[in-house]
């Protein structure tokens, strides 16, 4: 590597599952090269993290901060803002930071409903329990606090200014490697770009045979045995490959599962779900309103599919029930 000062890197998670960090570990031996080329100042999973160091850092002392996970509570936001301040480059890493991810599905429900399901009304809760966690509690004179659980989930870019986006749930390790290399070599594209993904859609990399499309009946994944060689849409199986950026390695369609869009919308698509809706509905093979209804009735929870990884990024972002 070069003689110049080593890169100063930090990795952190918000409301995440940890899969993004595993994806980084999945670069295997390469991670040792990174360790050689950079000072990993802060990465709780693999090396000792010392928060006080992060606080002590001068603004922009870090060259790169990789943030995975969504913003679900006041603490996530606090960390995001701290790292934004301390780092020259902030990367939203993985579907949750990029688009809100699967935790973002919570935007179709409410805080009260979530607390009720988790703490009050489920088969294994302590009989008669009325307690739900609260951000401030006084126990026998001892004051305890936990972060404020927000009404909804936000993508990272909703709370801080983000420089780059690495999509995927989780990002494909090969792509992670490319991104890290680009950083080390200082070969990053203009800010605000999506990195570690293709500009075309999953269909471009999908090996399945594609023909003209007309759909008379949609099938749920469990209703048929998928043909491994024919485009899933032509089998009436929902697949978001056509609206979704490629770069994942077509891992789901190659497992006979439709794409759920974790790599986010194609570059010139504004809203992944409504765009998918537009394409999908257009190929319905009917001119009769009642038949169309009948065909659509076999697509339950379209919102939960079309925004599986991006509800907080969708144009409407969350439920607007009164």
């Amino acid at each position: 590597m070069t003689e110049k000062k080593k890169l100063q890197i930090a990795l952190y998670w918000g409301a995440a599952c940890g899969g993004c960090d595993v994806a980084v570990l999945d670069t295997n031996e390469f991670i040792l090269d990174v360790a050689a080329a950079a000072d990993i100042r802060f990465w709780p999973i693999a090396v000792d993290g010392k928060y006080k160091d992060v606080e002590a850092m001068a603004d922009e002392e870090l060259d790169l901060a990789i943030f995975n996970g969504a913003v679900r509570n006041s603490e996530n936001e606090h960390v995001a803002k701290l790292l934004r301040r301390k780092s020259k480059i902030l990367v939203a890493f993985g579907s949750c930071a990029h688009m809100g991810g699967i935790p973002g599905l919570a935007n179709l429900t409410t805080r009260d409903e979530i607390f009720t399901a988790a703490y009050l009304n489920n088969p294994s809760i302590e009989p008669g329990n009325r307690t739900v966690p609260y951000h401030e509690t006084l126990v026998d004179g001892m004051k305890l606090d936990i972060p404020v659980f927000y009404k909804r989930v936000y993508k990272l870019a909703s709370v801080v200014d983000v420089d780059y986006f690495v999509p995927g749930c989780p990002p494909d390790p090969a792509q992670v490697k490319n991104v890290l290399l680009a950083v080390v070599k200082g070969e990053l594209p203009p800010k605000k770009s999506v990195v570690g993904a293709s500009d075309r859609t999953v269909c471009d990399d999908c090996r399945r045979q594609k023909k003209e499309k007309k759909v008379k009946r949609f099938n749920r994944p469990f209703e048929i045995i998928q043909d491994p060689d024919v485009c899933l849409m032509e089998q009436g199986i929902l697949c978001m490959g056509s609206v979704t950026r490629s770069g994942c390695g077509v891992r789901c369609p190659n497992s006979n599962q439709g794409c759920r869009g974790c790599y986010g919308p194609a570059p010139s698509v504004k809203d992944q779900g409504t765009k998918f809706l537009s394409a999908l509905a257009s190929i319905i093979d009917s001119k009769d309103p009642s038949e169309i209804e009948e065909i659509l009735s076999r697509l339950p929870d379209f919102a939960g599919y079309a925004y599986r990884f991006g509800m907080p990024t969708s144009t409407l972002q969350r439920s607007h029930r009164s």
């Binding site: 909703s158 779900g273 001119k287 697509l299 029930r321």
Partner: protein
């Protein structure tokens, strides 16, 4: 002051926009709440336009096209006919009231019908009160 609904209308050029012009030349009066955007065919209407309008503060969205079978491009309006019910399902899961978004067929000769549709829609949306979408998205920013 009382609330005046903002309604965005997407009209196809050949039937509905012409029908709206006819309403004009025949001086048929209807409420001024509708703001019309002309497209060549309802098939051009990406459902994203509709959610975008709602997010930007529309209280209602009206889509008008040629009657089935009368499309200038022979089958464009069938695409709208297919997308619309799925869009309605999507909006439902977002908790948006059914009557805020509407698809109607209005021919070039139906100036009166266009006026009636706009009048009816305006009254219904007025009845629903202002859409929460725009406001909610703004207050969300204030939560933090």
């Amino acid at each position: 002051m009382s609330y005046e609904p903002k309604i965005v209308g997407f009209l196809c050029n050949w039937c509905s926009y012409t029908g709206a012009d006819l309403a004009g030349t025949s001086r048929i009066q209807y409420p001024p709440n509708i703001r019309v955007i002309r497209v060549m065919c309802t098939a051009r209407i990406d459902p994203t336009f509709v959610v975008d309008a709602l997010a930007k503060g529309a209280d209602g969205v009206l889509i008008c096209g040629c009657h089935p079978g009368d499309c200038h491009y022979s089958e464009g309006n069938y695409k709208a006919m297919r997308r619309f019910p799925l869009l309605k399902r999507l909006l439902k899961s977002y908790g948006i009231e059914d009557e805020r978004v509407r698809l109607e067929w209005v021919s070039a000769s139906e100036g009166q019908r266009f006026a009636d549709v706009v009048t009816d829609m305006t009254e219904r949306v007025r009845g629903l009160g202002p859409s929460r979408v725009h406001a909610t998205l703004l207050t969300d920013q204030r939560e933090r």
